[in-house]
Symmetry: C2
């Protein structure tokens, strides 16, 4: 099994059957020892964070596959904290597609002159480029097209699918009395068919979930979501 890439929170291995294996680690993003899903650095290590992220990802992706939303997910092995996925290529050097239900985080930092903290944003979609050095700048549909990262047609698909997936996640959280403030998704092209797939993960590490006014940390989110 060949190690292809060491990521901040996951390592990627190539399997012999043309599939890939994602190994979930206990490292989470943050700064100065405080978890922050929008951060670009590993802020801390939390025992069990990798497995919790995998379990929640498996929970959401299994359901999405059943709903015929194309994802890279095939199956998960909780003992090994690994997930088997279809190979996919990212757009450009990787994009993050963010769906916002409430104004917090970088949106509030950028547009605080026009929105109040926590203001309703009605599944607003925006794209940032994955570029740690340049602090993941937001990028417009026109710029994505001009830089040959996404066509306008692909942008429309990503936007529609992001809203669909994010509303699905929000509704799953709602069943447990939680509110989704924002969520960060990643997409890629199926290496074989070119089809646009949801890739990466959906876990506490890439969303902000609240119970009333209280932020729910990733491990607690996994516990609540996966409890009977």
């Amino acid at each position: 099994m060949e190690l292809m890439y060491k990521g901040k929170t996951k390592d990627v291995y190539k399997l012999e059957n043309e599939l890939y294996l994602l190994k979930f680690k206990d490292d989470v993003t943050g700064e100065n020892g405080v978890f922050d899903p929008g951060a670009n650095t590993v802020g801390l290590t939390i025992d069990g964070a990798g497995l919790a992220g995998l379990k929640l990802t498996s929970f959401f992706y299994s359901k999405l596959n059943e709903l015929n939303v194309p994802t890279h997910y095939i199956d998960a092995n909780f003992e090994e904290a690994t997930m088997t996925v279809k190979p996919a290529t990212v757009f450009g050097k990787g994009l993050e597609v963010i769906c916002r239900f409430k104004a917090v985080g970088s949106f509030l930092r950028r547009y605080g002159a026009y929105v109040n903290e926590g203001q309703e944003l009605n599944a607003f979609v925006e794209v940032t480029i994955k570029d740690d050095e340049r602090l993941d700048p937001p990028i417009s549909e026109d710029a994505l097209a001009m830089l040959n990262i996404l066509t306008h047609e692909e942008y429309a698909i990503l936007k529609e699918r992001t809203i669909e997936i994010s509303k699905f996640v929000a509704s799953e959280l709602e069943k447990k009395g939680l509110t989704l403030y924002d969520i960060k998704l990643e997409f890629g092209r199926d290496s074989k068919t070119g089809e646009i797939l949801l890739i990466d993960e959906i876990s506490g590490g890439n969303m902000r979930a609240y119970k009333g006014d209280t932020y729910i940390a990733p491990l607690e989110l996994e516990r609540i979501m996966l409890s009977e």
Copy 2:
């Protein structure tokens, strides 16, 4: 004559005939004593900068008015370094609409992972919000619409008009052997008719002009453009 607003490079007075007077100052934007059209602070004072900016603005806006491009410009008084304009209200708390012909400045800082310095950008348009505290963040068409700053229809007009005006400015520079790298425009709504107007100024202070590989500073640009 009532002082309405003290700006970084211009002061605004209300006239008795419902028009406004812009007084051009010798302060220019920059940092640490170096001129930078994208900066948010007054970096230095250059004797004659205000008048030079006014003369160049008058040159471009007179021509744009002749071409039936709606602007706020009525006339200029070079002795007083003032310009008479129609009243207009800005979009939100003010937007900057940037047209880029070559990748430099904040575009290069944001998207340097995808473009080389000086790369051709073919009149690419992007919008930033005027917000010194938040460093004038870029904002997407969708965010402008959601935050009730611009409708999609207004965005389309601004984009089209920005390309038209910027190409006109580029062609005027080209007549003098200069190349326009980028330019920053401002628009507003005519306070009486609601019509979208080009407001503010067009001078060396809001564009980057080059002769070959050499950047042409604002005063030099004015000298070249207005010489016979």
